[in-house]
Symmetry: D2
Subunit: 436 residues, 4 copies
Amino acid sequence: MTTGFFGDVQPVRFEGADSTNPLAYRFYNKDEVVAGKRMEDHLRFAVAYWHSFAWPGGDPFGGQTFERPWFTDDMAGARLKADVAFEMFTALDVPFYCFHDADVRPEGQSFTESARRLDEIVDIFARKQEETGVQLLWGTANLFSHRRYMAGAATNPDPDVFAYAAATVKHCIDVTKKLGGANYVLWGGREGYETLLNTDLKRERQQAGRFLSMAVDYAKKIGFTGTILIEPKPQEPTKHQYDYDVATVYGFLKEFGLENEVKVNIEQGHAILAGHSFEHELALAAALGIFGSIDMNRNDYQSGWDTDQFPNNVPEMALAYYEILKAGGFTTGGTNFDAKLRRQSLDAEDLLVAHIGGMDACARGLKAAARMLEDGVLSGFVEERYSRWNSAEGQAILSGQRTLEDVARRVIKDAVDPQPRSGKQEWLENVVNRYV
Amino acid sequence: MTTGFFGDVQPVRFEGADSTNPLAYRFYNKDEVVAGKRMEDHLRFAVAYWHSFAWPGGDPFGGQTFERPWFTDDMAGARLKADVAFEMFTALDVPFYCFHDADVRPEGQSFTESARRLDEIVDIFARKQEETGVQLLWGTANLFSHRRYMAGAATNPDPDVFAYAAATVKHCIDVTKKLGGANYVLWGGREGYETLLNTDLKRERQQAGRFLSMAVDYAKKIGFTGTILIEPKPQEPTKHQYDYDVATVYGFLKEFGLENEVKVNIEQGHAILAGHSFEHELALAAALGIFGSIDMNRNDYQSGWDTDQFPNNVPEMALAYYEILKAGGFTTGGTNFDAKLRRQSLDAEDLLVAHIGGMDACARGLKAAARMLEDGVLSGFVEERYSRWNSAEGQAILSGQRTLEDVARRVIKDAVDPQPRSGKQEWLENVVNRYV
Amino acid sequence: MTTGFFGDVQPVRFEGADSTNPLAYRFYNKDEVVAGKRMEDHLRFAVAYWHSFAWPGGDPFGGQTFERPWFTDDMAGARLKADVAFEMFTALDVPFYCFHDADVRPEGQSFTESARRLDEIVDIFARKQEETGVQLLWGTANLFSHRRYMAGAATNPDPDVFAYAAATVKHCIDVTKKLGGANYVLWGGREGYETLLNTDLKRERQQAGRFLSMAVDYAKKIGFTGTILIEPKPQEPTKHQYDYDVATVYGFLKEFGLENEVKVNIEQGHAILAGHSFEHELALAAALGIFGSIDMNRNDYQSGWDTDQFPNNVPEMALAYYEILKAGGFTTGGTNFDAKLRRQSLDAEDLLVAHIGGMDACARGLKAAARMLEDGVLSGFVEERYSRWNSAEGQAILSGQRTLEDVARRVIKDAVDPQPRSGKQEWLENVVNRYV
Amino acid sequence: MTTGFFGDVQPVRFEGADSTNPLAYRFYNKDEVVAGKRMEDHLRFAVAYWHSFAWPGGDPFGGQTFERPWFTDDMAGARLKADVAFEMFTALDVPFYCFHDADVRPEGQSFTESARRLDEIVDIFARKQEETGVQLLWGTANLFSHRRYMAGAATNPDPDVFAYAAATVKHCIDVTKKLGGANYVLWGGREGYETLLNTDLKRERQQAGRFLSMAVDYAKKIGFTGTILIEPKPQEPTKHQYDYDVATVYGFLKEFGLENEVKVNIEQGHAILAGHSFEHELALAAALGIFGSIDMNRNDYQSGWDTDQFPNNVPEMALAYYEILKAGGFTTGGTNFDAKLRRQSLDAEDLLVAHIGGMDACARGLKAAARMLEDGVLSGFVEERYSRWNSAEGQAILSGQRTLEDVARRVIKDAVDPQPRSGKQEWLENVVNRYV
Ligand SMILES: [Co+2]
Ligand SMILES: [Co+2]
Ligand SMILES: [Co+2]
Ligand SMILES: [Co+2]
Ligand SMILES: [Co+2]
Ligand SMILES: [Co+2]
Ligand SMILES: [Co+2]
Ligand SMILES: [Co+2]
């Protein structure tokens, strides 16, 4: 028996590229093998609970647009929401979902009551996971919506807020472990500042470092084997967020000796807001050894805020999956849609259609990326371009056997006069267009 | 005997706030003591050789607008340029200047010839420094204008370009030491990429790390006692520059173990391009222990490229110097104007007028900052705001004596329910307006 | 008897620049004469009802932070809100306020009920205006918050939404007239689109043109003598708003023959979002003859959304008032603060402090602008710069007496070879710094 | 006999989607009929002379990278350049090219000498057009590179600069007519300002209006039957350009009564810089009746300046051609590549490869757009969405038969309470992905 929210929805099936059925996959064929792995295992899709089931459709200039029977702010609503959520996971045949504590249960009058409510829902989730085979990609704690967090959670000027947040994270890690979550994510939505005038930036960084260390230690202690992930974002809601981008997070992890303990969950929209391409953030994280997982939702290029839209531009997505495949693909990570319907997309069906479109675009991107990698035209060019570094002298420099003086002496002696070679960017872009 | 370029220019003198003499200081009074130090010693002004004497006024859509008698591309021109430059330093009574090798001598047919030409000019500089008392704030190498660097210097796919750059930096460090330079700066204008498609990002970072380590080692070896500085910039000319911003540089330094060897030279315009306020970059560098020096030239907020304009907004500059004073002020660093005249500012006098305006604005900013710091209203508020962290429990958390479980237990036991307090941003902004 | 919301607040008085009383004016001295007019008559300050009294402090990532006794969503709350609002207007001694229908009354079950509720509050306002002397700068209708407007008001695909919006505007114009409002404003927050894929852009422009014509006709018919104003904004909440900026609104007015009927209300924050400086939008509106009024609230330069902050940067504000004074100053328009407290500014006092700071900054800006104008250094330079156009030939060209061939013939005959002259931007910026 | 610059280049031929030949078309098949027209006639490709043959590869931080035998600054070089250019046009089999006067001849010592040189090259062009069948899509004048134009051409404070520019435009219109050019373009690269402080914005707009009117009158007088086009751009090189975007140009044309005489040439990169999507600018121009031609070169979304890159993102291009096809396709306009090689793309072959990739991407975009239009799924949805406006009441409102009061009366009487319907954005985006 279903809730009926989606009508008599049938499981969404792969029908091939020619299908015009809005409720079918045209490219996502979970058992199809791409680059040696089933597509499902490559992509590891997850639905985000918050946007799809908890967000009422408001924006800074308008209120609720969605009318959902579970918007009741009580536990009955929370249970109904869980039912609908798993109906959707099943209908879409996605292997994973993600959630914050605050998405799934109404806030209680106290920490204890909130925790109890969460536990109740988690028991339901555990049972539903068992029944459906859907798994938890990552759990997380909402440390930004409640007014107690308005000035930060770990970085709050009030240590009691730090404590409240710490207790919340402890509980959420417990719950994530209980549900077999593959990762635990921290997005520091309020870990930043509105104005430096009231902020002790150095102190707040110390607090954030301490908080993260405590969380890492706790996860280890209880035997949580998933990955701890930080999700960078430059700003919004704060003027400046400490986890600005991948490079910033890396420096932060190094400062606190956590670079081997924590990885990053990279969102396309946040990359854009920080002035980077998505593939840049992916390539950088891979180079730094901290690539973890992705939020595959795009930002509108003309909007200066986080629009969290479902992805649809296949050529761009191919470049993203190309970096992911080069990095070896996901281990514990996956492809989460931290994407919300446009607030005018009122229908239940829109939820399905949006995910289907996003998943299909990912599948196309992945397949293109796999062929790019297999053909080796791009990587071959890059290898050749740097090949002179494979010379004895190149290796001697890189391995630290040459001083500045050594090198300078050679330049003078040999009258070194390097001649530039074409970077072939246009040709490389044309090559990419063979695959997408 | 002067070159006559500036006519019969007289030394620019302080005449007080009411002066309308375009060639007088209204606020910069070098011997006036502010916060216990002479203004000259606080601000440590430097003129940038490149923009003022080497830039012909071109932009991407137009060519030369300035007509300077020394634009002859020969050594005679270079010598005349040096004469005019020191005339301007003297007229402005600035204590410092900065230069790249390529600013001061025409490129030779070979490395050796270029180096010999530089040496000739450096001898002239040494004599002029002696005569005028003007000193070198920092030297640097231009590793971005020549076509050999089009694909990077240290990060070039060709190790011979790395070598050429290394030899150049060695020579520029030698020269900087010889001239008693207080710092040596690296701005990696081409150390980035145009497209990831032809780039091995990880490899290039390794090359950059090696290069910097070699430079640091060499500077130590020859007893250069100045500070090595990296100047962050997010992009332009490249699509992405590896030294994106202060946080990125910090991560880079940590990766290569150089965080105690290298500091940053922060430019307002580059902060803006990276999505930060100038004061953010300053505060962050101070918090990370890598604050070194500044380029006090602004970007137009509505332009997406580096406009390198002379600064003029005193309230903004006061916030910048406030962060600098909180960090203890400059040690080897100073206030460089990496600023160029607008290309329509054709007159010799414009060069003087632009620097005078910038220096006056800095002086006002500094004086306001000093009073903000002395009055302590702002810092008192901040201290009070975080004061609960001074409690025993707060300190226990910060010092690592509490686990996540400890804290969570207390939250539950004590039913911790933190109440937010006003952040008072508007009041703080009003307080700032008392000083500017 | 007061509500007690502000404690025993005393009227805010002018105490002079040295005052450190957070509840005193340091520069705004309403009876002081500046450029021949009392400051109050120049600046014509207005408080915006919505941000100060109706906004709960939410943002896209968090809910209510403010706790106000009138947040009850009933008419008792609405009446209490009105009491507090007029207490604040009186305490601040501002001459004006502005409001939307939705700010002042809870939404009813029907249009009729909503209208009746508005009428009840308007009667209260009328009485309070009488008692306090505070006047209405402008009224407006909220055609963007309710879900019925999610796809636009006038530009909605459903003509019934157009009708509902039209009825609302009719009522709001009635009410504005009744309260003696000096202007009526239309901000088309949803008059735009989220995606062109579901939008008939041409059709929607026609609908918007019709709507505006109907409003103009109605205002005339009932003898409303105030000014009809459009407030441009490029985007947010929509991806694209039809009233993008001043130039766009001008083209729109010309298209529908309304350029003599409607003017613009220019907001600093919206200018920034559209890629312009505030002074640009002001100067352009003046040049086009459509300058009306201003919303003097700033955007954070590093944020890509509308932060609606109280203004504080005096040099920038001086440039804005300089354009306003050059345009002859306000007639029906004024200086509205479409500014909201930061959501962490929880205290009642913060409301006062924020407005005081904003008003003081405006007063300083105005005084600087007046001196800039009186001294005439800037305008004298500009006049001289274009003076060659005053020649007979210049005038002949401008007045249409020369064809392209005439001019070309002269260029060849006289071997015209124009020589550029310095634009003196740096000197002009220094001159501005004499006044701010 | 060829110049040999491209080696023994063969004409580029269509080889089909599976070709990996870098010098073949995979999608552009000029005689293939799409939506009732040959692809060549639809797309009307043009090569831009300036970027491909006149630009040396410099950027604000570096000089020339390209080494071309014709970079000699004399007439021999100009003739060689013309030979190479037509060799490339022929090799690519493009039907059109575009040029500025300054691209094709070295500047002379006087207007007369420059004009004579241009005439000499134009005679060569005329002969080559005859021989090759390549035609001129548009001519234009470079009124921005020379220092005489540093403060504007038509909008210069010096009427002699206006005159010089007018004489230049006259000559360029003559030349365009002589070569049978289908359009004449004005891009006002310096028609804007650097600072309002030295600018009389109103005056400059008047000058620009006069200039355009004179050019239009002249073109008519001599019987030039092509279209006069303005190319909007928001900024760069100036801080603000008067032809900011399509909406701004429309207002400008209306102000001077030129909206039926002049159309727009829309560039993707300029749309982006102005905060718009390309398809927005196209749709708006079509709605306003001023759509003319396109510059199909993209901007990097993460760069704040005009990168003028060859296009490659097919889904985006499909949306652009969809708007163009909806507007009826090109009449005199076409698809110009105002695109430059990346400055590292040194090889002659890169010029061919870049254009081939761009043309293929356009061809794919066009074919997708044609199918989108033919299938009618998208347009059908839009029509249905607005269908209620086809009711008698909807039409009565739109045609001006209803007053605000009429409508308000009906809302009250009928208790109108409109219910929102889903905007289906995600589904529409999925539909687009069926075609690209
Ligand atoms: Co996001
Ligand atoms: Co996310
Ligand atoms: Co710069
Ligand atoms: Co700099
Ligand atoms: Co606003
Ligand atoms: Co506003
Ligand atoms: Co362009
Ligand atoms: Co163009």
